[in-house]
């Protein structure tokens, strides 16, 4: 089974191919006497392809499985099934030693910039650590040169090299995290909510920086966030996840102009518009109730209990992710019949 491929760069061979990836956690339940485990399908059959220099946004609410997906791609959690093909080689099932070597090429940036930096290490040592790990015999001057180069690239000042994380603001800590992720010259970076802990004013700096670095270094990026406006801004294509499954994979402009899935449409409508003239528009996302427990996902389409368009078929039959003639992908029985256009073209 082949997943959604890049539109713009379809002819190029993808660097990453993810096929039918599934991750299941065993959840302990019950009291002392009736203890049992129940499976929680955090990621349930995700497929996609990523080209060199492409950014795929992954968006969804808490509990949709987007962070688990990130961890599974890096081999930090073991998938139950599926393949993660990095340059043609399956990363699933590789032994720890081989996998570690691969991590030179695949790096991650985390959400909480301060918490993900060791408070007892200087900026120099934080950025240098991956170098020491992968090249234990590297000369000290070489390390320092490389660290200084990275600091310049992410917009840190040379005189900050011996400072500690607590001396920096959130945005600067995230710059340190980015420098650390880039120091080994990776080809793919997974950003897990990299700006959601930052002030809006600083968010924009970090998004611009990531976009800039990506272009300069021809990086492939997987950008995970719950903020659709942020994701749209940085991504070429966006995957919308709900309860472990992909609801839609569309090019970023299409996703906003004409969502294909009712869940995408609800997400788009829920984003506040920074304009008083749009007052109260935000109140009409049309989404009913809360997300169901992933331990007990609804039958049929997982979104049907909250979907304003659901019909009988949606309660029974799981809609597969399929490609529409215009090139985007959707998992909805009614995709052809619904017109969820938000912005009229022209």
């Amino acid at each position: 089974m082949s997943g959604p491929a890049s539109g713009r760069r379809r002819k190029q061979r993808p660097v990453l191919k993810v096929q039918d990836l599934a991750v299941t956690y065993d959840i302990q339940q019950g009291g002392l006497l009736r203890r049992h485990t129940r499976p929680l399908n955090a990621v349930d059959g995700i497929s996609f392809e990523l080209a060199r220099g492409e950014t795929l946004g992954v968006v969804g609410e808490s509990g949709c499985g987007k962070s688990t997906l990130a961890r599974a791609l890096l081999g930090l959690v073991q998938p139950r099934r599926g393949r993660v093909l990095w340059l043609g080689e399956d990363l699933v099932g590789l032994d720890e030693k081989t996998l570690r070597k691969k991590r030179k090429e695949l790096q991650i940036i985390f959400q909480d910039p301060l918490a993900s930096l060791n408070p007892r290490m200087t900026v120099h040592d934080i950025i240098a650590e991956p170098l020491w790990t992968f090249y234990p015999k590297i000369a000290r001057v070489q390390v320092e040169e490389r660290v200084r180069g990275m600091m310049k690239m992410v917009g840190l000042l040379p005189n900050q090299i011996n400072r500690y994380p607590h001396e920096f603001s959130g945005g600067q800590c995230q710059r340190i995290g980015i420098a650390r992720a880039l120091v080994l010259n990776p080809r793919l970076i997974i950003c897990d909510e990299p700006v959601s802990a930052l002030d809006v004013s600083i968010q924009a700096q970090i998004i611009n920086l990531l976009k800039d670095l990506q272009r300069k270094l021809a990086l492939s990026l997987i950008f995970i966030a719950h903020d659709l406006a942020v994701v749209k801004h940085i991504s070429d294509r966006v995957m919308v996840m709900y309860l472990g499954r992909a609801m839609e994979v569309s090019s970023a402009p299409n996703l906003y102009r004409r969502p294909l899935h009712p869940y995408t449409s609800a997400l788009v409508k829920a984003v506040p518009i920074p304009d008083p003239a749009a007052r109260r528009r935000t109140a009409t996302s049309g989404l009913r109730g809360d997300m169901p427990s992933p331990l007990d996902p609804p039958a049929g389409c997982v979104f049907h209990p909250r979907c304003p368009y659901a019909v009988k078929r949606c309660e029974i039959e799981v809609p597969p992710l399929r490609r529409l003639p215009q090139g985007d992908w959707v998992a909805c029985h009614l995709a052809e019949e619904l017109d969820l256009t938000i912005v009229k073209s022209g």
Binding site: E61, V200, S201, A229, P253, Y256, A270, P272, P274, G289
Partner: protein, 321 residues
Amino acid sequence: MSVLLEVNGLDVRFETPEGEVHAVRGLNFSLQPGETLAIVGESGSGKSQAMLAILGLLAENGAATGQARFKGEDLMAMTPQELNRHRGRDIAMIFQDPMTSLNPYLSIERQMIEVAMHHQGLGRREARTHAIEMLRAVRIPDPETRIRQYPHEFSGGMRQRIMIAIGLLCEPDVLIADEPTTALDVTVQSQLAALVDEVVARSNMAAILITHDLGVVAGMSDRVLVMYAGEVVEYGTVEQIYAQPLHPYTRGLIDSVPRLDREDHEALHAIPGNPPNMLALPPGCSFRERCAHAFEACAEAPELSEPGEGRLKRCHLEKAP
């Protein structure tokens, strides 16, 4: 119209091992009944500390001076006992993180009934009925059953709605919400924003919304107060602030919000640099180092001026940026 809350010359200082931090510097504002005021600024701008100071909730190393007149009575001159009569009953505050402000060991019932009995002098039964009504008002499904549950049994969005229900339980005159939706998903955010908006409108309550995100408050506030480095830098109606911001910082805050409703421009308009170090504020205008419009005059700290009826700005620029 009478003024409900009037804050005058509010100063907040903290003693830290590195020196004194002057977190809020001469803050003035007033709140009318039924009005929603957004206080906007980055982390460290003093917006949350100002609210905590008014309610007498500053950390041990903090001290506040100035006045905060609630219906004419100065909250800051009150003893803790006197303040307790107002906190929760007349002025309620909803905090950012619902998991840390709800007691994990007590059922929702216990936490709500206590508040209602203490502040409103209700009996246990009445208090319970009232609590269930409030949970229903914030759209907790099946409130009769769920009131017996503990915080961990609810989702993040529901916990935040419970916090709002507790905040509203005593029908306060002023509701202060500190980043009430930041930790939440957008869909939950929009539900909550609509809910707060509706409750405030229905009860003629006044609200103060504290946030770093101008995008969130556009649709739900009447007036906006922008703070930077502990000071007010701009004030106006929500329409004025968005249509014609007078301070470059406000302009920056508006432009840095990534927008879904516009076609992508190449880069977002970020505000360069970082929030200032409050331990060592630069002389002159505190925004000068990050300001694209700074000129010679900015070496001198600008005073708050009144460029129009009901508008305030703290900037030397003649024209809007």
